[in-house]
């Protein structure tokens, strides 16, 4: 019996993605939402939406009772779990079975087995699929783990057994640090997955992450939909993914796809899933990493090259349909690259950014797909993952796909909150990326000291100032731009904006003109002069020193991001009163006598008590926001005067958690 009504036990972009396929298949889509997501786009787009609880995920999207009740009450006979949350929770899949609800995914048994990394590796080894040397044992005692660490040697990876998506992973380069790192990894594992078991394994230095997309049905058919390369990762989280894996030799592709299919068959896999591998190009070795028994974030690149709607097939096979096609019918055509857009600060440890999106705009380009969870006015809260959108460029060749992606990224506008847009634009603009020299250490090679925003320079800052002027539209008092009666007599209209950027202190730039001939001065010193300046549709074109230039830009509020050849760079252009009158507020923030919550989040542990003598850098508070555990250290040596927070409670952003004596 075809599925009629489907509940999506998820949020954000993936909820919208599933709704889209439901529409196409004539299925009624039921959304569930937490307090924080009341006004989210996916709630409005669903046919029915059910409020399931408070903002914290454990009270809403992770609350099985609430989800199942919502399904029953809304008449949904099917649940799509998306990714994350309950998508790989065997207990939840079992609950669905018990309630007579179709869970879109494999059987609880398969989820359980593949969900435990330890067991998954045992399954792989049994199926003759090589795995990375490591310790996957039950004995989690410090002594045993330490022994095993010695055996495997460095570099060594500590991972949460129940983890996925990079959370709860730590690398140890020096065994002296093992104990400390182990404690942190356990704490993260416990907080993220409710289970502090870890596994250890050898860490490969320059491997590529290649994963095989699987599509299996309940009638014993198991197909692969080729592979994806997801080597570009930050903190073990994927940032850029593409299909097919560029430069993958046919024999390796053959080996990986057949390993994946064999593994899936060996456990009776019967849904959409992904087998992840590491491939060391130099040795030609491949190792099974893990299997994800759900839809992946990066599934759109596979959809682009195979022309298949993975969500639709996931629903069909869950409903018991047999796959009508054979492996030979699946063809990989063209190329697709995806970039994940997250509300995070890549220059500052990928710290999550929260706030309201005051302007969201996505480009409409041939070959570009944008899957987004936000819109203008959406709140990005500290409660969930920081990813807000995915931008996918596709084309006949990798170069064509890359060109579409770069163009698309340079036309995305997400204002009001910090994002990694500049960062991902910079990654895909790297020559090494264009040459497909990919490996999991790509980012640390490309940005050895960590990624920093491109250093600002005055010439580009001058362009930013021009672009920050109000668009000459509307009534005559705006439409005329910087009009002056004295212009034919040689005195042009000018405006002064204070422009700053990465490594560039605010400078008062005087902008003469807005189109045509434009001159920009700092005091009396000319900074930039160009002719035939035109601003249209996120492009700035001009002539300078006889050469024609065309630079993409995005303006959002006070921020102007320019996309010259050398990479994106963002400037802030402020009117005088904002630039000159805001001094006092900044001084308060710079005070060094307190530990301050960097954003709204959960205080998970407090390590100091009033009266304690502390040294600069001592960790005072463990703090969790947007699924990231942060260690908050004291800013200087001193004595703790007061502790203003309680473990397990929510703290407002900028609130003072710990105070030191004067």
């Amino acid at each position: 019996m075809p599925i009629q009504s489907l509940l999506i036990a998820n949020r954000g972009e993936i909820a919208r993605r599933v709704i889209r396929t439901c529409r196409a298949m004539g299925i009624r889509a039921v959304a569930v939402y937490s307090e924080a997501d009341r006004d989210a786009p996916f709630v409005a787009e669903a046919d029915t939406a059910v409020h399931i609880g408070a903002s914290e995920a454990r009270n809403s999207y992770l609350n099985m009772d609430a989800v199942i009740t919502a399904a029953r009450e809304s008449g949904a006979e099917t649940i799509h779990p998306g990714y994350g949350f309950l998508s790989e929770n065997a207990e939840f899949a079992q609950r669905c079975d018990d309630e007579g609800i179709t869970f879109i995914g494999p059987s609880p048994e398969v989820i359980r087995r593949m969900g435990s990394k330890i067991e998954a590796k045992a399954v792989a080894e049994a199926a003759g699929v090589p795995v990375i040397p490591g310790y996957h044992g039950i004995d989690q005692s410090d002594t045993k783990l330490s022994e095993e660490a010695q055996r495997i040697g460095t570099p060594l990876l500590i991972k949460a057994s129940a983890g996925g998506g990079g959370r709860g992973m730590r690398v140890v380069d020096d065994l002296d640090d093992f104990s400390e790192t182990l404690q942190t990894a356990r704490a993260e594992a416990l907080s993220a997955f409710g289970d502090d078991a870890v596994l250890l394994e050898r860490y490969l230095r320059a491997p590529r992450h290649v994963e095989v997309q699987l599509l299996c049905d309940k009638h014993g058919h198991c197909l692969h939909l080729f592979e994806r390369d997801c080597s570009i990762q930050r903190n073990h989280q994927k940032v850029i993914e593409e299909a097919p894996a560029p430069g993958l030799p046919d024999d390796i592709r053959e080996r990986l796809t057949s390993d994946a299919v064999r593994l899936a068959r060996s456990i009776g896999y019967d849904s959409v899933g992904t087998a992840e591998f590491l491939w060391e190009p130099e040795s030609g070795e491949t190792f099974f990493l893990e299997m994800n028994t759900r839809l992946q974030v990066e599934h759109p690149v596979t959809e682009a090259v195979t022309g298949l709607d993975l969500v639709a097939w996931q629903i069909r096979v869950a409903a018991g349909d047999a796959l009508p096609m054979a492996q030979a019918d699946i063809v990989c055509h063209g190329h697709a690259i995806e970039a994940r857009i997250a509300a995070e600060d890549p220059a500052n440890g990928y710290a999550p950014q929260v706030g309201t999106v005051d302007l969201y705009r996505e480009p409409d380009l041939d070959g570009l797909r944008v899957d987004s969870g936000v819109d203008t006015g959406s709140d990005v809260t500290p409660h969930y993952d920081s990813m807000i959108a995915k931008v996918i460029g596709s084309g006949e060749t990798r170069d064509a796909a890359l060109a579409v992606l770069r163009d698309g990224l340079s036309r995305m506008t997400v204002s009001g909150i910090g994002t990694n847009l500049e960062f991902v634009h910079d990654i895909v603009g790297q020559p090494a990326f264009a040459a497909a020299r990919l490996h999991t250490g790509f980012l640390s090679d490309a940005f050895p000291d960590g990624w920093q925003a491109h250093p600002a320079d005055e010439r580009l800052g001058a362009m930013a100032a021009v672009l920050a002027l109000p668009a000459p539209t509307g009534g005559v008092w705006n439409a005329l731009g910087p009009w002056r009666i004295t212009e034919p007599s040689g005195r042009r209209g000018a405006g002064v904006l204070y422009v700053s950027g990465s490594g560039m202190e605010p400078v008062a730039l005087r902008v003469e003109g807005q189109s045509g001939t434009v001159s920009v001065f700092a005091e009396e010193r000319p900074v930039w002069r160009a002719d035939r300046v035109q601003v249209s549709d996120n492009r700035l074109t001009f002539r300078e020193d006889g050469a024609r230039h065309d630079i993409g830009f995005v303006r959002s509020g006070d921020l102007v991001t320019l996309y010259p050849e050398r990479g994106a760079v963002t400037y802030k252009a402020l009117p005088p009163e904002i630039a000159l009158l805001g001094r006092k507020a900044e001084q308060v923030v710079a005070d060094g006598s307190a530990v301050i919550a960097p954003m709204p989040g959960l205080v998970t542990e407090i390590r100091v008590n009033p009266g304690d003598t502390v040294k600069q850098g001592d960790v005072a508070v463990l703090f969790e926001a947007m699924k990231m555990v942060q260690s908050l250290a004291v800013p200087r040596d001193g004595i703790v005067r007061a502790v203003n927070c309680t473990a397990g409670t929510f703290a407002e952003g900028r609130s003072v958690l710990i105070e030191l004596e004067e």
């Binding site: 109000p470 005559v476 009666i485 004295t486 005088p576 000159l580």
Partner: protein, 533 residues
């Protein structure tokens, strides 16, 4: 509305001759404005900068919203007077937006005689206040002035529209809820001190700003106290001790930022009128006007050719096109704002006067502001005209024009003589704005007619000896010289008979800016029947 079909051929010899003539006029205008608004005072400017001071127009650039217009008024005030040593009369006035609020900036230019007040300075200051009051524009005083220019004190201080009137207006406007804000950049002595003192809110710049009723030299003479200017009336003292100033600015950019911030929080609602229709550029380029206007005043041209180059889409609807044809009356739009335009195609006869009165009353009834394009030798004279009652018919147009409640604008594009100037809403009739082209001539009559009239009067004089040819020639020369000088547009603009000389190609934009301002205060709408004439 129909698009006007021009019969002008820009490649014709006439057009080229007209254009060549006009271009020399424009070259003169540009050169004079360039002189008046900056050039030639390098040493003074350098000294000004050295004191951490910005030039007056640079202050305005920082004051108004970046990337928006500033409508500067009377750039050539005091031109040709005082040995041409008081450019712009030492003051810059004009309208610009601050945080989207249209404001009147009144800014002293301390590089001109220390920003002290000449007769034309007062006149320009008062005129700016008058415009501010009529249009409810907050007044932003950028004060850097030493008070009255003492050698000219009899033309600056005592009369009813002299210096004292500026303060009377400040008080009245404040009472009427029109914000009065001052930022003090330099010394403000005596009269100058009252500009900030009578402001709603005042900013002073540390180190440079001074406010004192009597400066150190007067204090010494009056009470024999020896004191330096900073102690007597410095910014810090006035902000922390006397309370004469409300905000202490560290430097000029800071002072201007504070002023912007004050305007942002004025809670002052009147804003610029939004155009009811989108603006459409004219089909015919405004730049062609220079080739439309005859280089010889005696050769007539069709004023519709001028209108077509000013209005949206070159579209116009003409009223009574076949009656009273020496007066052209059309409705059109400029930058999206509807406007009723009255232009001259010859002298005013009884019928054209009545047509004008009728059209004015139509526009008044419909809430459409009026624009008068002056190019008029006068009302028709002669037996026939008098027998037709030209005196009472022309009076009807003057009545209608004077009493119209909609905003009126005037633009002098050619001659504006005698009673013609009255009927067409000359300066005496208080148009909300009045601009002129370098082809303007404002006088009781042209030099030709005036010299004839005066020699004829001498010839027919009964007392004394009969006039000889030499005496008549001398009279003619003297009258021609006087009329020639005094009907020169620079003579007029120097004396603030207009709000500035502008170029034909700028005119559409100037009118659009003015319409958006005046239509924010469109006047009362007490209707009377349209009186058909």
């Amino acid at each position: 509305m129909a698009v006007f079909t021009s019969s002008i051929d820009p490649s014709s010899a006439d057009f080229q001759a007209n254009r060549a003539h006009f271009d020399t006029l424009l070259a003169t205008l540009r050169e004079r404005i360039a002189t008046a608004t900056g050039g030639g005072r390098d040493a003074l400017i350098a000294r000004h900068h050295k004191r951490g001071k910005l030039l007056v127009r640079d202050r305005i650039d920082r004051l108004i919203d970046p990337g928006t217009p500033f409508l500067e008024l009377s750039t050539l005030a005091a031109w040709g007077q005082y040995e041409n040593d008081v450019p712009g009369a030492g003051i810059v006035t004009g309208i610009g937006q601050v945080h989207g609020v249209p404001c009147m900036a009144i800014a002293n230019d301390a590089t001109v005689k220390g920003g002290s007040f000449f007769h034309e300075t007062v006149k320009k200051h008062v005129r700016a206040q008058e415009i501010a009051e009529e249009n409810r524009l907050p007044c932003l005083y950028l004060v850097d002035c030493g008070g009255a220019y003492l050698p000219e004190q009899d033309r600056v201080f005592p009369d009813k529209d002299h210096f004292g009137n500026t303060f009377h207006r400040q008080c009245r406007m404040s009472a009427a809820g029109i914000p009065q804000i001052s930022a003090v950049f330099g010394g403000c002595t005596a009269g100058g001190a009252y500009i900030p003192a009578l402001s709603d809110e005042t900013i002073m710049v540390r180190g440079n700003a001074r406010i004192h009723l009597g400066g150190p030299s007067i204090v010494k003479v009056a009470i024999n106290e020896t004191v330096d200017g900073e102690t007597l009336g410095g910014a810090e003292m006035h902000t922390t001790v006397s309370g004469v100033s409300d905000h202490l600015a560290e430097d000029e950019p800071h002072a201007l930022a504070l002023m912007r911030d004050i305007v942002a929080s004025l809670n002052h609602t009147p804003s610029l009128a939004a155009p009811p229709k989108p603006a459409v550029p004219p089909r015919y380029d405004g730049d062609e006007i220079a080739g439309v206007i005859s280089h010889d005043r005696k050769i007539p041209y069709d004023v519709r050719e001028v209108i077509a180059r000013l209005v949206d889409g070159s579209e116009m609807r003409e009223f009574k096109p076949d009656w009273g044809t020496t007066l052209v009356c059309v409705t059109a739009s400029i930058h999206g704002h509807p406007v009723g335009i009255i232009g001259n195609n010859g002298a005013l006869f009884s019928d054209s006067s009545l047509k004008g009165a009728h059209f004015i009353s139509l526009c008044d009834q419909r809430g459409i502001p009026l624009l008068f394009l002056h190019n008029i030798s006068g009302f028709m004279v002669g037996t026939e005209a008098e027998r037709n009652g030209i005196a009472k018919d022309s009076a009807k147009m003057v009545y209608a024009m004077s009493c119209a409640q909609v905003p009126r604008l005037s633009l002098i594009i050619g001659g504006s003589y005698g009673a013609g100037n009255y009927g067409m809403c000359g300066r005496g009739f208080g148009p909300r704005f009045l601009f002129a082209w370098p082809t303007a001539e404002v006088a009781t009559m042209s030099a030709d007619i005036a010299s004839n009239v005066m020699t004829e009067l001498r010839r027919t004089k009964e007392k004394g000896a009969p006039a000889d040819e030499a005496e008549l020639q001398a009279i003619e020369d003297a009258v021609r010289k006087q009329y020639g000088e005094q009907s020169d547009p620079y003579y007029a603009t120097s004396r603030l008979w207009d709000d500035g000389l502008i170029e034909p190609a700028q005119t559409r934009d100037v009118l659009g800016l003015c319409l958006a301002v005046v239509m924010s205060q469109p006047g009362p709408r007490e209707r009377t029947p349209v009186l058909r004439m």
